[in-house]
């Protein structure tokens, strides 16, 4: 609005300027006209008086000839039309007329200059002292109106040129103002567009960064998962054979026994390592059970004190009414222990470790930015008063083998295990850290909807339960070393064992020996059927058949979204002798209880 007003004002000013110029021009012309006539009149009167003065003697002495000479002298002026000198009696004394037709008045009264058309007429007395000797009459043509207009045309031209300049200036000013306004608006638009673009770029960069990070983690997960799987099989063979060596007391030599024990410890550490790699790759088989996080944290306090030492205080802030979650308790303990160990290292021996729990809600924007589903979560925050991390370190902290610890002090797999486990549990992990201000790692576990049931079963018995000959087990495993090892172990425990390398031969064996009570099968099998399909096929033949899967890492066949299907048991490679013995024994016991409780057909 303001812009238009200004333009209008400019136009008005220009118009007023032009009008003023025109008025001034007209005024100049009128003034010129009047002053020209006045000047002309004065000139004519002066000429008359000069003549009157010079002609006195001629009149006094009645010298017409001299008078005529004076009169003729005036006629040199081309504008003078007629001149006449009259004597005291009013009689014509001497005269000149430019135009023959020009009638001279016979006698005239003395008068001021008067305009008669384009002719100026004046009569002045010829006086000598008090005596009037006669009069002089003069007629002068003034410039005709056309001539005067020609003169004024120059003024008009100047005025119109000035007006034109004024108008042009006004127009130019208006154009300039409009152009400026356009430019200003374009500038604003451009700035807005630029801002939008920058915002979009920033958003895209952040999304791309997150995507890259996710892809990197995924790629690393696949790589580590693949390696770990193969390693597991090899470790199984090594560990199994070493245990058999110990168990059968084949080595009498004490030193050789110590060497075997050392080899077992080494293999077990290697197994732990591969377990963590699988955890990061989200391919460790999880056994999620309904869980009270507060109870788990409380139960860990002894373990934490032992792990952290006396110099580090452990403080727990546990929220009341905490929601239940469904996670693998062992892995959660592992994760918290990993975080505690990291915190201890960051605090260089002294400080305070705080574990908090809380019910939180992750809203849509946060969820989108962090690749997690929005909703209700139980948060476990582990904070230390340590040295903290730079943003660069924070960004890479979850990557496997990334460590700031000295060589040999850490594996670089602690936080990646946490990350993989939480992700596999459909949760979310986030690190907040400032150099010098300590670090907080927050774990978010999805709230378990529905009623809670069952506490976890205590695992591990002091003595290995022995097998029985009537408990027949079918072992299906494509890796011959692993199969041989498993078969050897189970036979060692006292079970009757059948073995098969693939699903087809397993089906044939089962048909030949329908008294098989337990199927112990690898998940991944060559040929048409995998372990799960084999189990389903055999269970159709004998619904009471117990199934124990084993795998290096969980496959979709038995693990959906990282969880075991109900009614399926799993033992992960590499498994120890004791773990296998306990697991198989527990399964047989459960089967028999179920069989006893079930109504007889």
């Amino acid at each position: 609005m303001l812009r238009f007003d200004r333009a209008n004002v400019m136009t008005a000013i220009a118009a007023a300027g032009v009008l003023l110029l025109l008025l001034a021009g007209a005024g100049i012309v009128m003034y010129n006209e009047v002053s020209y006539k006045e000047a002309k009149a004065q000139q004519v009167e002066a000429q008359s008086r000069v003549l009157a003065s010079t002609v006195t003697a001629a009149l006094a002495f009645d010298d017409r000839k001299a008078a005529r000479e004076y009169v003729n002298a005036l006629a040199v002026d081309p504008q003078i039309q007629a001149v006449a000198v009259y004597d005291a009696r009013g009689h014509l004394f001497a005269a000149y007329a430019r135009d023959g037709e020009h009638a001279l008045p016979a006698a005239t009264a003395v008068s001021d200059p008067r305009l008669d058309g384009d002719v100026l007429k004046v009569t002045v007395p010829v006086a000598q002292g008090r005596n009037t000797l006669g009069s002089v009459y003069l007629e002068t043509a003034i410039d005709p109106i056309s001539r005067r207009l020609e003169r004024y045309a120059i003024i008009a031209l100047l005025v119109s040129m000035a007006s034109l300049i004024f108008v042009l200036l006004g127009l130019a000013q208006r154009r300039l103002a409009e152009a400026n306004e356009r430019l200003r608006r374009q500038g604003i638009d451009l700035a807005e567009a630029n801002e939008n673009l920058l915002a979009q770029i920033a958003q895209r960069e952040s999304v791309e960064g997150a995507l890259r990070q996710a892809q990197k983690m995924e790629a690393m997960g696949q790589l580590t998962g693949g390696i770990a799987h193969d390693f597991n099989n090899l470790l199984q063979v090594i560990l199994g054979n070493l245990e058999l060596l110990q168990r059968r007391k084949l080595v009498a030599d004490d030193e050789a026994n110590r060497m075997v024990a050392s080899a077992v410890r080494g293999a077990e550490r290697a197994a732990t390592l591969t377990q963590r790699l699988l955890a990061f790759a989200r391919r460790q088989p999880l056994d999620p059970r309904p869980l009270d996080v507060n109870k788990l944290v409380q139960g860990m306090s002894d373990l934490l004190h032992r792990s952290l030492g006396e110099a580090i205080r452990v403080e727990t802030v546990l929220a009341g009414g905490i929601w239940r979650v469904a996670v693998d308790a062992n892995q959660l303990e592992n994760a918290l222990l990993n975080l505690a160990v990291n915190a201890r290292d960051a605090m260089a021996g002294t400080g305070k470790l705080t574990i908090e729990t809380a019910n939180v809600h992750l809203d849509e924007p946060y969820a989108q930015a962090n690749e997690v589903r929005p909703g209700q979560y139980v948060m476990i925050a582990v904070s230390d008063s340590g040295s903290g991390m730079t943003p660069e370190v924070t960004a890479k902290a979850f990557e496997p083998f990334f460590t700031t610890k000295d060589v040999g002090k850490g594996s670089g797999l602690g936080l990646s295990q946490v990350y993989g486990f939480i992700k596999q549990s459909e949760g979310h992990a986030k690190i907040y850290s400032e150099p010098g201000d300590g670090t907080t790692v927050k774990l978010y576990l999805p709230r378990l909807a529905g009623a809670a049931s069952g506490e976890r079963v205590a695992v591990g018995a002091p003595a290995l339960p022995a097998g029985r000959e009537d408990r027949r087990i079918l072992v299906v495993e494509d890796d011959e070393d692993v199969r041989t090892h498993a078969v050897t172990m189970l036979k060692e425990l006292g079970y009757t064992v059948l073995e098969a390398a693939d699903a087809e031969s397993a089906l044939r064996l089962f048909d030949a020996h329908p008294d098989v009570r337990l199927l112990f099968t690898d998940v991944g099998l060559p040929g048409g059927r995998n372990g799960r399909e084999l189990a389903d096929a055999l269970r159709r033949r004998n619904p009471e058949l117990a199934v124990l899967f084993t795998t290096g890492y969980a496959r979709n066949a038995i693990v959906h979204h990282g969880r075991l299907d109900p009614g399926v048991d799993l033992i992960t490679k590499p498994f120890t002798f004791a773990a296998l013995a306990n697991k198989v024994h527990a399964m047989f016991e459960r089967c028999e209880v179920t069989a006893r409780e079930a109504p007889q057909p």
Binding site: T54, T56, A57, A58, A60, F61, D62, D63, R64, A66, D87, H91, L92, F93, A94, A95, A97, G100, E101, Q128, G129, R130, N131
Partner: protein, 176 residues
């Protein structure tokens, strides 16, 4: 057209100024008598000549009484500026103070008179004088009374003659 106009003016002139030849000698003197006082406005007397604006301009006439009478007649009712005009009949040898001296007489008497008034602020006027003439000398040309002016004599009498008058003179004797 122009020719007709000129003829008209000529006729007018003729009517207004009849040729002298056709008139009596009295007429000639009557004209001269008028000229005497008409000369006065074109002549500057030295300062102090007139003590006041009402001082009379004195015209002395030396010669026949008829001429003096004509002058008397001519100045009747006239004045020169603010000055009234007085006419004095000058007897031979008299030394009345004059502003204008008209020597109508001829011969030695005139020369003596001129000599007497030489160096005095008096406009001397002579009549058809060949040798001893006054500042203004009347002559008759083409039947018209005209005059000659002797600037040398005017200077001798401390008088200044207006150029307007000089323009009308038939002859001007310049200063040497």
């Amino acid at each position: 057209m122009r020719r007709r106009c000129v003829a008209f003016f000529a006729a007018l002139c003729g009517m207004l100024a009849p040729p002298l030849a056709a008139q009596a000698p009295n007429v000639e003197y009557a004209v001269k008598a008028t000229y005497l006082y008409k000369l006065a406005p074109f002549v500057d007397w030295p300062a102090g000549t007139f003590t006041g604006p009402a001082d009379p301009l004195v015209i002395c006439v030396a010669g026949e009484d008829e001429v003096a009478d004509l002058v008397d007649e001519a100045v009747k009712g006239q004045s020169v500026g603010s000055h009234p005009i007085a006419v004095v009949h000058l007897a031979a040898g008299a030394t009345t103070p004059c502003n204008i001296l008209y020597l109508a007489e001829r011969g030695n008497a005139r020369a003596a008179m001129l000599e007497r008034f030489r160096g005095m602020p008096v406009l001397t006027v002579t009549d058809n004088a060949a040798a001893a003439h006054g500042i203004v000398n009347f002559v008759v040309q083409d039947n018209r009374v005209r005059f000659e002016i002797d600037l040398n004599a005017a200077a001798a009498n401390h008088l200044t003659i207006s150029s307007k008058l000089l323009n009308l003179a038939a002859r001007v004797l310049p200063r040497p």
